[in-house]
Subunit: 213 residues, 2 copies
């Protein structure tokens, strides 16, 4: 069954990496179809029919239905392939993983993305991904760096209490946070040495074979 | 069982309304505990122990665990009370509802929120909810209005094709979009007359008894 699922992705896309790592942790191998963002392939008519927001990744199901948005793709995969759940196994854990994954995304990942999109010369007029163009707002770059630093500090505090971000188990929240930290290099932000719990977690998580995906 | 679940909320909070409507659609009655934001109760030590992000709503489970973030609360409720699923019934529908609910939130709800938080005199230094203070960026107000208008236009196109936002069934995506449109009055944005499919959908959805919640 999994052989006929197709993931449209890009090698250098942090959002694509979140899904590739998720798949590797679940032991799933899908057909990967690269989208050449350098050539603007995400804006092509063919790709817009797959994902009108013109972003990667997108998951195409066996019946041709496409699902965009990383948490939605993760949700489908954890439901269709319930072995090795990465979004929690009980109602309570599902709620808690959804909460922590979302915080990692909104406070961390989205902040890095906002900084990058408002900074890069190549993204003028494209400060928000999607079908509509928006001008860059330079003041958002500094604010994003500050948000990412606050995120790392909060994450360090959290990891002083628990081994994984959502608690006792590895989950999608760890994937999103790990990818965020690697992505933050684009803003010249890295984990400060004094965040010892976060550093220990980062070293453990980044050594997982899935993280090469 | 549901009688011992507690929802911390505020009457005028659009995020709280998303959960109250969700509960009403599922026919669940929880203990509602008001948080007085006018008096800054969300910043109190007692509430920060419940939700360190200092926002409403928060759901407290029977064992004292608290879940914050609206989609996470919805996830818990749909898992713990599977009757009348509002996040989809099959893996495919769960993925699609997650996608559409998220788009309604990120492109609509979050855009209104960004506009309001960067505009209101009472929110100086609090442009982003949470434990960290951020200065307002006036340029975000106009951009937010533009984003909300684009959201309404995209939503109208979508509703030319399908009766509900995620497809054939009412779902959490309709709740988030409806609450977004009512919330957009804070930015003086309303549905233009020419968005006829959106207007028809809005009238039908807002007439549901749950929407008074």
């Amino acid at each position: 069954m999994s052989r006929t699922l197709q993931l449209y992705h890009a090698a250098g896309s942090p959002n694509s990496r979140r899904v590739r790592v998720f798949l590797a942790e679940k032991g799933l191998e899908l057909t990967l179809i690269p989208v050449d963002r350098g050539a603007g392939e995400q804006h092509s008519e063919a790709y817009r029919a797959i994902n009108p927001r013109r972003v990667v990744p997108s998951l195409m199901l066996e019946d041709g239905t496409t699902i965009g948005e990383v948490p939605a793709i993760m949700r489908y995969l954890d439901e269709a392939f319930p072995e090795t759940p990465l979004l929690g196994a009980t109602p309570k854990d599902k709620g808690l993983v959804a909460m922590w994954e979302r915080r990692a995304e909104l406070e961390g990942f989205a902040a890095v993305m906002e900084g990058v999109r408002n900074k890069s010369a190549g993204l003028k007029g494209r400060a928000i991904a999607g079908p509509h163009g928006y001008e860059q707002i330079p003041a958002l770059v500094d604010r994003s760096v500050l948000r990412v630093k606050n995120f790392l500090s909060d994450l360090n505090e959290r990891l002083e209490q628990v081994p994984f971000i959502a608690g006792d188990q590895f989950s999608a929240a760890d994937i999103t946070a790990l990818v965020t930290i690697d992505f933050a290099r684009a803003l010249d932000v890295s984990v400060p040495d004094e965040h010892r719990s976060l550093k220990r977690w980062y070293e453990a998580i980044s050594a997982r074979p899935s993280m090469k995906a």
